[in-house]
Amino acid sequence: MTAPPAAVGPPVLEISGLCVEYGPAHHAVRAVIDVDLVLHRGEVVGLAGESGSGKSTLAYAATRLLRPPGVITGGSVLFHPDAGQPELTIDLLDAGITELRRLRWRELAIVLQSAMNALNPVLSVEAQLTDTLAAHLPDSTRAGRRERAAELLRMVGISPHRLHSYPHELSGGMRQRVMIAMALALEPQLVIMDEPTTALDVVTQREILQQVIELRDRLGFSVLFITHDLSLLLEMADTIAIMYAGRLMETAAAGRLFAAPRHPYTAGLLASFPSLHGERHVMTGIPGSPPDLRNPPPGCPFHPRCGFAEPRCRQSMPPLGPPPDARAGDRLVACWLQDGREDRPPEVSRPEPPGTSTRPALRVITGPVQP
C-alpha cells in the first residue's frame, strides 16, 4: 500500500514555513505561524478551521492577495507550473507584479465566499466572463470569447441563455456557479475556493460540490478548499489539513483523518457534528472558546481546551511530525501525545483503516488528465 491516494500527481504548490502577521511589529497578531502545506496535481486539499484560525489568511498570503495590515514575515510558496520543467518553478513570495499578473487566473484562480459581492452588479454575466478572457487572452476574438463564455456556463450547468442576465437575476447557487465558471475560464492548474458554498442551502451546496469534483476529474486542476465545515471535507477532499490559532495541527488523507484522528482538536471536531444514523447520544463538542490571537496561550494554543493537556503543553509548542504509527510520513500531527509513548488516550490512537483510505464519496473518477 502506498501512502498518498493514487490520483495524486507531482506537487503543484509547496508552502513552507509561511508566517503572516497583522499590525505593527511590536504588538503584531500572528495569524499564520510556520505553516507547511503541499498541494499535488489533481488533488483536493481541504483546509478546515474555526473563524480566526488563519485559514483564509493562509490562502491570501500564498497567492499574494493579502492586504495591509497583513504582512508576510517568512516562508516560501513554490509554484510548479510544469512538473517536467523544474526551472519554471517560481517562489510566489518573491515574484514581481508582472510575473504575478502572468500567473494569476491563468494558472491560479480563486473563488470567493460571497459571489454577490464578487460579481459586478451592473454588468451582465457575459460581460464579466468575456472581460476576464479579454484581459488574459488579448489575442482572442470577440466572437471566440463569447463562444467560450457560453461554453463555460454550460460546463457549470447553467443554460447559455443566462449570459445576458445580471447577477441579481440569478439565484445564490447560480451566482456561485458563475464564479466557478469564471475561475475555470483559463483552465488554471490550481483553484482556491474560500468557503464557496457556506451561504448556500444544502441541496445547492451538494450540487455545486459534485460539479467541482466532476470538473476536477475532467480537467485535472488542484483545489485548495477552505471551510469551517469538516463534515463536508470528509466527503470531498483527498487530504485534509486542520488549522487552529494560525498553526497546522494535523494533516492526513480524509478517510484516515475521519477514522483515526491523532490530534485531540481533530477528535473534538469530529465529535462536534451529530450523525444522521444510529442511536442518539450526548455529544459535548469542545469546551471553551477559540483563543484570542492578540493574547495567545503559551505552548500549544489548544491546551486550555484540551482534555489531555500536560505541563509540557503549556510550555512549548509540539513540532509537526509523523505520529509514531504513521506509514512513512504520510500524515502529520503536532501534539505531544504523539511522542511515541505507549499509553496514548484511545481518542487519538484509534487504529487506522486498512488500505490507503476510504475514497471520498463525492469522488466519481480518479486520475487527473492534463488538458
Binding site: V203, S272, S275
Partner: protein
C-alpha cells in the same frame, strides 16, 4: 425503535416515553402573505403582488419538548417563528397560547411567556451596553425583580443558568469582549429573564463555530429537561434537529411537507423532499456516491406552483401532484407526510424506502 416521545439524548430520564405533555403554544393553519411591489426600470412601481411565505402551518409546542422546524432558505421557517413571537401578524389562522388565542393576551403578558433568540448574536446584542444591562432590562420590564440587589441577584442567577460562570467575569463585559458562543449564551439569558415557558430559537447556532455549537444545543436541551421549557428550534441542519429535537417538522416553500417524531422522520423519511434534504446533508459515514434527485431551488413564492409545491423538482411527480394539493397522510405513529405518493388512492409506493434513497 423509539417511541413517539423520542429518547432525546440529554433527557431520556425526564422525557422517557411519558404521555404527551400539555401543549403550550400551538399554531393553527397559520398563513402569512407579504405584499410585495417591485420597482420597474424607470422607477415606476409595478403591480402589487402577494408572496406566499407560509401557508396553513400547524405546529404544537409542548412543555419539556423541543420541536424542530427544518427547511432551506425561503421555506418559511423563520416567518413561522416570527409569527409565533408576535413579531409578524398572521394573515390568517391563529396562535393559541395556553389554549387562548394570542390576540386575547396583552402583548407584554404574551412576551413574558414566549421569548425569541435570534440567529446572529453579533447583531442581536447592543454593542454599547454590557451584559448586566442586557439582562437587567427584561428583568425590570417583566417585573421579575425590582430592587437593585434583587436585580443583581437575578442577573447572576441567569448567567448561571446559561453556564457563564463565574458571573463576575462576564457581568460587566461588552458584547465585543465575548466570543460568539458566549454572546449567544447572553442572548439566551436575556430571553430567559422574562421568565418564559416557550423559547423560540431561530437558527441559534448557525453563526457559531462548529466546536461550540453543541454546547449551545446542549444548553437548550438542559432547559428543556430541567425546567420543562417548550422550545422551537428553527434550523436548516437536519442532523442537528435529529440530534436534539423530539419532533421534526419539515417545511418547503411555505408549507409543511412532513412532520413526526425526530428519529421517525430522519430515519424513515416519507416525503421526497425530506429524502432529498437527507441525501444532500454532509455525511462522512457515507461510502457510496449519492444521487441527488430533485435538485434545483425553491420556487418563486409570488407565483407558487399549483398542487404540490415540490412537484416541479420531484422525481416521482404524478399528474395529480400538478393540480391538487396533497393532503396530510399518516405514515406512522404521529408521523404525517403531505404527499400523494403516500395516499391510498394514488400512491404506487407502499413500502417505506430506506433513509436517503427515494424509491426508484
Amino acid at each position: 425503535m423509539n417511541g413517539p416521545a423520542g429518547n432525546s439524548p440529554a433527557g431520556a430520564t425526564l422525557n422517557g416515553d411519558r404521555p404527551a405533555s400539555p401543549s403550550v403554544l400551538a399554531a393553527q393553519d397559520l398563513t402569512k402573505h407579504f405584499h410585495v411591489r417591485e420597482r420597474g426600470l424607470r422607477g415606476s412601481w409595478g403591480p402589487r403582488r402577494v408572496l406566499h411565505a407560509a401557508e396553513d402551518v400547524n405546529l404544537e409546542l409542548r412543555a419539556g419538548r423541543v420541536s424542530a422546524v427544518v427547511g432551506e432558505s425561503g421555506s418559511g421557517k423563520t416567518t413561522v417563528a416570527r409569527m409565533l413571537a408576535c413579531l409578524e401578524r398572521p394573515t390568517s389562522g391563529q396562535i393559541l397560547l395556553d389554549g387562548r388565542p394570542a390576540g386575547r393576551h396583552h402583548l407584554r403578558g404574551y412576551r413574558q411567556r414566549v421569548q425569541i433568540v435570534f440567529q446572529d448574536p453579533f447583531a442581536s446584542l447592543n454593542p454599547v451596553h454590557d451584559v448586566h444591562y442586557h439582562l437587567s432590562r427584561p428583568l425590570r420590564i417583566h417585573r421579575q425583580a425590582r430592587r437593585r440587589s434583587a436585580v443583581d441577584q437575578a442577573v447572576e442567577a441567569l448567567l448561571a443558568r446559561v453556564k457563564l460562570q463565574p458571573a463576575s467575569e462576564f457581568i460587566h463585559k461588552l458584547p465585543h469582549e465575548l466570543s460568539g458562543g458566549q454572546r449567544q449564551r447572553v442572548a439566551i439569558a436575556r430571553a430567559l429573564a422574562a421568565g418564559p415557558g416557550v423559547l423560540l430559537a431561530d437558527e441559534p447556532v448557525s453563526m457559531l463555530d462548529v466546536s461550540i455549537r453543541l454546547g449551545i444545543l446542549n444548553l437548550l436541551g438542559d432547559l428543556r429537561d430541567t425546567e420543562g421549557m417548550a422550545i422551537l428550534y428553527v434550523t436548516h441542519d437536519i442532523a442537528s434537529a435529529r440530534y436534539f429535537a423530539d419532533t421534526v417538522t419539515v417545511m418547503y416553500a411555505g408549507r409543511v411537507v412532513e412532520s413526526g417524531p425526530a428519529l421517525e422522520v430522519t430515519d424513515h423519511p416519507s416525503h421526497p423532499y425530506t429524502q432529498l434534504l437527507l441525501s444532500a446533508a454532509p455525511d462522512p459515514e457515507r461510502t457510496a456516491p449519492v444521487t441527488i434527485s430533485g435538485g434545483g431551488a425553491i420556487p418563486n413564492l409570488v407565483k407558487p406552483p399549483a398542487g404540490c409545491r415540490f412537484h416541479p423538482r420531484c422525481p416521482l411527480a404524478m399528474p395529480v401532484c400538478l393540480t391538487q394539493r396533497p393532503p396530510d397522510v399518516p405514515v406512522g405513529l404521529g408521523h404525517v407526510a403531505a404527499c400523494w405518493l403516500r395516499h391510498p388512492d394514488h400512491g404506487p409506493v407502499s413500502a417505506q424506502p430506506p433513509a436517503g434513497q427515494p424509491p426508484a
